[in-house]
């Protein structure tokens, strides 16, 4: 049946919402082949209709072309929404993980997607630089922070750590610190600190 493979693509999307499964090259190729096939069919029908001008067959030809056309349109829509949804997912990941993607996500992408991603990152970076005098990093503080300072617990023996104001503190395992939020964020992401609420 025409359009079945396209539908399989969409089903795959809806099965893994908010994650990126490996780019399904086989299925995408199969769908585009199907489109090509359908195009051929339309062309065939047209050419035969030129030769034989018998009105009897005209009715059946029209229905062939209509069905093939509808099949093409449907397949195209499936392909587009497959790619669109993957890219949407990729975009939210850019905001979550920053400009460098984790390796396990990167292997799931197609070459075009990787290219798109780097272009998007570039655009975003140049936009962020253009705001104000020195630029603003829009990716931090996605939710408005409740307090400027937070209490953190150190999870590893990290050693000495210099704050932006120049003072140095010793980060020892299981010590508690009360620090400006902006200083901690990086270390929390690295897993050195644990935020205590």
């Amino acid at each position: 049946m025409y359009g079945e493979k396209g539908f399989a693509l969409i089903k795959e999307l809806s099965r893994c919402k908010e994650t990126l499964p490996p780019y399904n090259t086989d299925l995408v190729n199969a769908v585009s082949n199907e489109i090509k096939q359908l195009l051929e069919q339309i062309k065939d029908a047209q050419s035969t209709s030129d030769n034989e001008s018998a009105l009897v067959t005209a009715g059946s030809k029209i229905s062939t072309i209509t069905i093939a056309h509808a099949g093409i349109k449907r397949n195209l829509r499936c392909l587009l929404s497959y790619h669109y949804n993957r890219i949407k997912c990729l975009r939210t990941m850019r905001w979550e993980f920053g400009s460098i993607l984790p390796a396990d996500i990167k292997v799931n992408l197609s070459a075009e997607e990787i290219e798109w991603f780097s272009k998007y990152s570039q655009m975003l970076a140049s936009y962020m630089r253009s705001i104000g005098d020195e630029g603003v990093n829009l990716a931090i503080d996605m939710k408005p922070p409740k307090a400027l300072y937070i209490e953190v617990r150190c999870l590893v023996d990290y050693g000495r750590f210099e704050l932006t104001d120049g003072s140095v503190l010793l980060l020892k395992k299981d010590s508690r610190h009360y620090l400006p939020r902006s200083e901690c964020e990086e270390l929390i992401r690295q897993g050195v600190f644990q935020h205590i609420v």
């Binding site: 307090a147 400027l148 209490e151 617990r153 003072s167 503190l169 010793l170 508690r176 400006p180």
Partner: protein, 561 residues
């Protein structure tokens, strides 16, 4: 030096500076630390927090951080030692000390601004006068120089007179020194506890108008801990409860929206001296709590019968009294207090009722201050041995925050185990007659390999055990002088290095928690020349090698008789 205005000279002074908080490993310190943390948050004062268990830990924490931080705040540690000398502190480092251990070291009291005590001067009793203890060295040098000068000028003529002068001076000096030693001995003879640090910090919060019910609750817990562990006299407890009660009423009237939502309530109520009965069954709680156990001698067969008699008198069927208090019949639950109070005289349980506080939030959680104290103790001292103190400290802090109910419930379960173990240890000690009278004192040694011995290598639980033991001993002993004898308990501390921990508590008859064992231990150790390490801030604890123990006891006997 005492800080006169704690608000101005401590809180305001520290704003914008980075500080290092050193917290002692006990319940009062944890409460005080939590109150202080919430205050520091208002001023955005950056702090680093570390927990210490003894003087060695304190030194390490100081050494690692003294280059980066200039202001150290010490809670319940360091007050009893000469902190500047002990840590070899540089001039530019300032210490703020809030310590409930007494007596405070004189060098700290008379320090010139480097050491600042946050407690009030009234809490230190009978502090010797400055000139009786310290002589200004510069004066002496001047004197000697003068002597030298005059000596050079008229040598022969004045020599004799000067000789006399010198003798007089020396004599004066000797007298002064004798007097000094006497004063110092009198001052440092007893170790005891002053007001809980958490209450002092809560007062600060109140003055800053930043107090709320949670902070008040912490202060209450600290006070209850002091009472339960016999650190303060009952009269002092009653005195301290008064202000806290008025705080509770005041804060209750100042309800805001969140309070209505969580229905957080602190009520001042009469409570029973029973361990965790709200979370246990009535029978177990009656049996394993120190107060009724001692009064009714529950470790004996006769005592057991008496307990059943009491339950029958109260009208509690056995089935009911053996199931969880929460699931008991509503009628019985309501009557429990009254009926026990009514029968208290018949069974010699007078004073079973005391004033305490109850925290209630939501519609299910109801905790008595003593419940929380036992839970905290269980976390700090009877957790699996592979956990580090810092982890346990963090866990204890979690336990105090209301959102972590499961931590608290787990801890209460463990606290029950502690109560049972305490009871069984006392029972076996009495049955086997292991409490030995050494003349001027009695002692009990917990052997390695005895039931749950490792539990007793911690300070709080050892202290609970010693009070339980002494009371039980006095109740059982035919010796009329039993109540005038102090008790020493010894438990293995570290098997690998072969050390044991000693704790001495004053006799029951004196009815005062002032403890003279600190000095006595020190002198006894000196006499037999054993290398004792006293790493504890509370000097009534002592650590010696197990092989020296017998000689140590002999020396103590000689010293005290």
């Amino acid at each position: 030096m005492y800080v006169d205005d704690i608000k101005q000279d401590f809180y305001e002074f520290l704003s914008g500076k980075r500080i290092f908080l050193i917290i002692h490993y006990d319940i009062d310190s944890i409460c005080a630390c939590k109150i202080l943390q919430s205050l520091l948050r208002y001023k955005h004062i950056l702090y680093t927090l570390s927990v210490v268990r003894g003087i060695e830990d304190l030194k390490t924490a100081y050494r690692e951080n003294c280059n980066d931080v200039k202001y150290f705040v010490l809670i319940n540690c360091g007050g009893t030692v000469d902190i500047v000398e002990e840590l070899e502190a540089e001039e530019d480092i300032t210490f703020f000390i809030l310590d409930s251990h007494r007596p405070t070291d004189l060098c700290n009291i008379y320090s010139n601004g480097q050491v600042r005590l946050l407690s009030t001067a009234e809490e230190d009793v009978a502090v010797p006068d400055f000139h009786d203890v310290f002589k200004e060295e510069s004066d002496e040098e001047d004197d000697e120089e003068e002597v030298d000068d005059s000596d050079g000028e008229t040598r022969a003529a004045k020599r004799r007179r000067l000789g006399e002068e010198e003798i007089v001076k020396r004599r004066e000096r000797r007298l002064w020194e004798d007097n000094r030693n006497k004063l110092l001995f009198e001052y440092s003879q007893f170790t005891y506890y002053a007001r809980a640090s958490a209450i002092r910090i809560f007062d600060l919060a109140w003055k800053l108008n930043k107090d709320d019910k949670d902070l008040l609750w912490l202060a209450i817990i600290a006070l209850t801990e002091q009472m339960l562990l016999g650190k303060i006299e009952d009269s002092q407890y009653t005195l301290e409860v008064g202000p806290l009660q008025s705080h509770a009423t005041r804060l209750h009237n100042r309800t805001n929206d969140t309070d209505v939502l969580t229905s957080l309530k602190i009520t001042f109520e009469k409570d029973l001296r029973l361990t965790l009965y709200r979370h246990w069954s009535v029978e177990s709680s009656l049996k394993y709590s120190m107060f009724p156990a001692v009064k009714m001698k529950l470790w004996s067969l006769k005592g057991d019968k008496k307990l059943n008699e009491l339950l029958a008198d109260m009208g509690f069927p056995l089935i009911q009294s053996r199931q969880a208090f929460k699931s008991m019949d509503l009628q019985l639950r309501k009557e429990f207090h009254e009926s026990l109070e009514k029968l208290s005289e018949k069974y010699g349980l007078q004073d079973i009722v005391y004033a305490s506080f109850i925290l209630q939030y939501g519609y299910r959680s109801k905790y008595c201050a003593s419940d929380i104290v036992f839970a905290l103790m269980a976390i700090l001292e009877s957790s699996p041995r592979d956990k580090k103190p810092e982890e346990l400290f963090n866990l204890a802090l979690d336990c105090l925050s209301r959102s972590k109910k499961e931590v608290l419930d787990g801890a209460i379960e463990r606290a029950k185990v502690i109560a049972k173990t305490l009871f069984k240890t006392v029972q076996s000690a009495l049955d086997m007659k292991q409490i030995i009278n050494a003349g001027p004192f009695v002692y009990y040694i917990i052997q390695e390999g005895c039931l749950d011995w490792y539990m007793f290598s911690h300070q709080h639980i050892l202290s609970l055990l010693s009070h339980f033991l002494l009371r039980a001993y006095v109740a059982m002993s035919r010796n009329r002088k039993a109540s005038t004898l102090p008790l020493i308990v010894s438990a293995p501390k570290n098997i690998e290095t072969g050390t044991c921990i000693l704790l001495g508590i004053p006799p029951l008859g004196e009815n005062s928690p002032k403890n003279f064992f600190g000095k006595a231990f020190e002198q006894a150790a000196e006499r037999i020349n054993c290398d004792a390490t006293c790493d504890f801030f509370d000097t009534s604890y002592f650590e010696i090698h197990t092989k020296d123990r017998t000689r140590f006891f002999d020396a103590l006997t000689a010293l005290l008789s």
